[in-house]
């Protein structure tokens, strides 16, 4: 999609607009893979994507494919939607997941098949520190990293 097309057509959901620094992440998502920057000089895992390693200042940190396994670091339950497109989805849970590599990302709470769970998280026994596994949620054509309970 070109920028011109973006301006002309209001998407249903907010859509990520990748740039040179973030494109590898979104390219990975399109293949249902999670790629995170991993500085090969100092070993630091980096999130969000950046043009320089903020630990050792090496330019253009390398990217590495990760399993996406991690633990719940925090979460919220979305109820009153801010945009019309979410109205059918609420209530739903957005997780802050700490990957086994140590970085934290946001993602939806989904079922094993990657479908959004209409839930406040109680039925799933959502708890701090519980294990989650990576899935991808298809939001109107955008594949978004999301997580499903793994215990």
């Amino acid at each position: 999609m070109t920028m011109a097309a973006d301006v002309e057509t209001k998407p249903q959901f907010p859509i990520p607009i990748p740039d040179r620094d973030t494109q590898p992440f979104w390219d990975g998502c399109a293949r249902r893979e999670l790629w995170i920057q991993h500085c090969t000089e100092c070993g630091k895992w980096l999130w969000q994507p950046r043009p320089v390693c903020s630990s050792c200042q090496t330019p253009e940190p390398k990217w590495a494919k990760v399993s996406g396994g991690g633990r719940v670091a925090s979460w919220t339950v979305m109820r009153p939607p801010t945009l019309p497109a979410y109205a059918e989805m609420v209530p739903f849970v957005v997780l802050l997941v700490e990957l086994d590599e140590g970085v934290r990302l946001l993602g939806y709470l989904v079922d094993d098949g990657g479908r959004l769970l209409k839930t406040d998280g109680i039925a799933e026994g959502l708890a701090m520190g519980s294990r989650v596994a990576l899935r991808f949620y298809d939001q109107a054509g955008t594949l978004l990293p999301s997580w499903t309970p793994a215990e």
Partner: protein, 383 residues
């Protein structure tokens, strides 16, 4: 060589003028108009004229630039101007810029203001469908509102420190009681702990009354040198010191990707503030802590060292804390990016708050704590 006169003697800055238009759900005018009226009111309060003004600083989010405001009001020349970004983090930092300008003899009369039609003007994220920068990893998941970011922090603090809902409920109830004594406050209805607990969830675990108001408001402050303040018919609020801080690996509102979860930039602002002012928490008589959301208050008491980490619930339940947000704050007076907290801080020094805390020596005012931010101390006595 001889030191320039500018640095031969470091001056002190003082707030000498304050003004607020009536807070409302719909102010019925432009932010530009409201801001101009607030500035004229603050100049009148100080006994100064537009022709005296020679510097302005603003929040980056202020829709009217210093250039435009100076042009509208008829300011001859701005010797210094500038903006500070990051929403509600900017209040103490713009005050710091004003004080630095005066201390360094770069300006004599500085105007600060915040005019925001946040209630009638709509919600900034409601039309933003193209997510760039940090937003591209957040907005697609509906993490767009400030309250969405705060929800992750609050859940973590509940987990880490064992907070009960009453910890934040106490903040909401306390500030409402302050608002009821303040005729200018938007929220006059009494609030009980049951009212707080029974209110609907907005972004779980934040309930309705954990969240600040949506306000149309316009406020301004005027600062000048202590020497010039002595010639004015006002009680100056002397600017004793200030500090700014971003903290490491900062992202606005969603400050949870860094190495340590749950800390805010105030962990870096606080030691710098105490070093800068030469004061300690025990010297502070009353605080105006940034309160877009209730959990920011107990965390601020901890991070500024009024009590230890994790101790705020007991510290506050036992009433050991200095009074906070005595106008009703962002939760119950008005939410204008914390500018009303600055103005209330000045009132406490003047002795004119509707919840006056006796004879106040020092007031601490802080900016939003999940964004780059700052803090300032207003005092009754000069250096």
């Amino acid at each position: 060589m001889t030191r320039p006169a500018r640095v031969a003697k470091r001056r002190q800055a003082a707030v000498v003028g304050i003004h607020a238009l009536p807070f409302s759900k719909s102010i019925g005018t432009t932010e530009r108009h409201g801001g101009a009226l607030a500035i004229l009111g603050a100049l009148k309060d100080a006994g100064l004229q537009v022709r005296d003004v020679d510097a302005m600083f603003r929040y980056f989010w202020e829709g009217t630039t210093e250039m435009e405001m100076a042009r509208i009001l008829g300011v001859e020349n701005l010797r210094m101007f500038g903006e500070v970004d990051y929403g509600g983090g900017a209040g103490p930092p713009v005050t710091q810029l004003a004080a630095l300008a005066i201390e360094n003899d770069l300006a004599d009369v500085v105007v600060l203001w915040r005019s925001r039609n946040r209630s009638s003007g709509g919600r900034p994220w409601a039309s933003q469908y193209h997510a760039t920068g940090q937003d591209q990893f957040e907005r697609p998941y509906h993490v767009a509102r400030p309250v969405d970011g705060m929800a992750f922090h609050m859940r973590y603090w509940i987990h880490k420190y064992g907070w009960t809902p009453e910890v934040t409920g106490r903040v909401a109830v306390t500030e409402r009681a302050h608002a009821q004594r303040n005729p200018a406050a938007m929220m006059q209805k009494p609030m009980t702990m049951d009212d707080y607990l029974n209110a609907r969830m907005i972004a779980d675990p934040l309930r309705l009354f954990d969240c600040c108001l949506e306000t149309d408001g316009a406020l301004a402050m005027v600062l000048t040198s202590a020497e010039r303040a002595a010639d004015l018919d006002v009680t100056p609020a002397y600017v004793t010191g200030f500090a700014m801080g971003s903290g490491p690996q900062m992202t606005a509102m969603t400050f949870f990707y860094g190495d340590e979860l749950g800390v805010t930039p105030n962990r870096w602002v606080a030691p710098e503030l105490w070093r800068n002012t030469g004061l300690a928490p025990k010297d502070i008589d009353v605080v105006q802590f940034y309160d877009a959301f209730t959990p920011q208050i107990p965390i601020a008491f901890e991070e500024f060292g009024f009590c230890g980490e994790g101790e705020a619930p007991a510290y506050m339940a036992e009433g050991k804390n200095p009074p906070y947000n005595t106008s009703g704050g962002g939760l119950s007076e008005a939410y204008v990016h914390g500018f009303n907290l600055l103005v209330e801080g000045v009132r406490q020094v003047r002795g004119t708050s509707t919840t006056q805390v006796g004879d106040v020596g020092h007031v601490l005012v802080t900016g939003g704590n999940v964004i780059p931010t700052g803090a300032v101390v207003f005092s009754k006595e000069q250096w």
